[in-house]
Symmetry: C2
DNA sequence: TATTTTTGTGAGCAGTCGTTCAACTACGGA
DNA sequence: TCCGTAGTTGAACGACTGCTCACAAAAATA
């Protein structure tokens, strides 16, 4: 059935993902992509149709691999959900990369919000993170680690915003101490959001 | 002393600022800038030396006008500091512009972190916001609106991260209801951060 | 008025952008 | 072995990029 493909699609997407995280969509030229992936334009366009196509494939791969993995490891699986939430935050700070590539979702939301197909990918990734927070919070509540009337949904949205904000500050290059105090604030703020319904507040 | 300048520098910087907020640094071409400001390249380069130069001037103007104004109006001046903090958040949601241009600091931190001169401008703007939060929190504590042992510095960093995260979610185009619940979370979380050190806190 | 000094104008430069495509290479089936 | 098919290669395209500069226009000075 003809010649075999010489390259691995997962590897190529991983390289493209790395490049887009560091330089952004507009900042990564096709020459850069060529160098990073080792693919010549012909092969690239045969498979992904366009730069947009490659970007969306990379964004999907980011959601399916990086985001889902991180959510599973830190938010869904740990026996201690609150400790998991904390490690979810701290692991975003200590990436080791310099300069920090940040999160492709954050960067994409801010940079290329105009492309409509992109918005869907970003929304999906954010929803996965928010869902992970909600799951961890629900489990923490059942364990008695939070107030019983914790407003899980609102707290999950709150943590999502805090996490995205942390990634902005990471990207801005703020000192580690500041970033860690944001994590401390995130953990401390869990439990401050109760369901408003009946106020039976005793403490 | 020669011919007079026909254009107003503040107006030009305001137009450039608007364009950079919407499209980003890389997304705004010099032809776009020409159209937005009404300036021809010759005048632009005579005054600002380069596209970078114009961008930095626009970033400085953003810090000095937009950021400082917002901080003063919502965080420094209101008699009720907590209400001011709330309005600081909600006013970032209801901008009326579509799509929302977001915050030039957030966008710049994420997009063009490589340019070193840019980092200084971003850091400065973020510090102004954080300082505004700290001022409002201190005043709220003196009024008895927060626990007396509120950790002002950490809470200010916490609110800064939340605010930046909110701007990311705004830019991602999440529904208003989600954004408002982030604001609710921000307000509820104030007071959850106490000073850890065991000390004689009377005030 | 003539001269000097500053600013405005926009055609045009060299380089880069995303993209195409014709020639070439390797594989399966006849 | 030869053909049909799928994949690879890289030169080249028009459009666009940031930027320059020779020239025109207007104000201050002589």
């Amino acid at each position: 059935m003809g010649r075999r493909q010489l390259w691995d699609q997962d590897e190529v997407l991983a390289s493209a993902m790395r490049l887009f995280r560091q330089r952004g969509y507009l900042g990564a030229s096709l020459r850069d992509i060529e160098e990073a992936t080792g693919l010549h334009p012909g092969s690239l366009y045969r498979t992904f149709q366009s730069k947009d196509g490659l970007f969306h494939a990379a964004l999907d791969a980011y959601n399916e691999r990086v985001v889902q993995d991180r959510v599973r490891v830190h938010l869904l699986e740990p026996a201690d959900p609150l400790a998991g939430i904390r490690s979810f935050f701290t692991s975003a700070i200590e990436t080791g990369a310099e300069p920090d590539p940040g999160c492709l979702l954050t960067n994409t939301a801010v940079e290329s919000f105009t492309l409509p197909a992109t918005a869907a990918g970003v929304h999906h990734g954010l929803a996965v993170i928010e869902g992970g927070f909600a799951d961890a919070l629900t489990r923490a509540r059942h364990r008695g680690d939070t107030p019983p009337d914790l407003d899980v949904a609102t707290t999950a949205a709150h943590l999502l915003a805090l996490y995205q904000g942390l990634l902005v500050l990471v990207r801005a290059g703020l000192p580690r101490t500041t970033l860690h105090s944001v994590t401390d604030g995130a953990m401390a703020s869990i439990g401050s959001l109760r369901t408003v319904r009946k106020q039976d507040d005793h403490e």
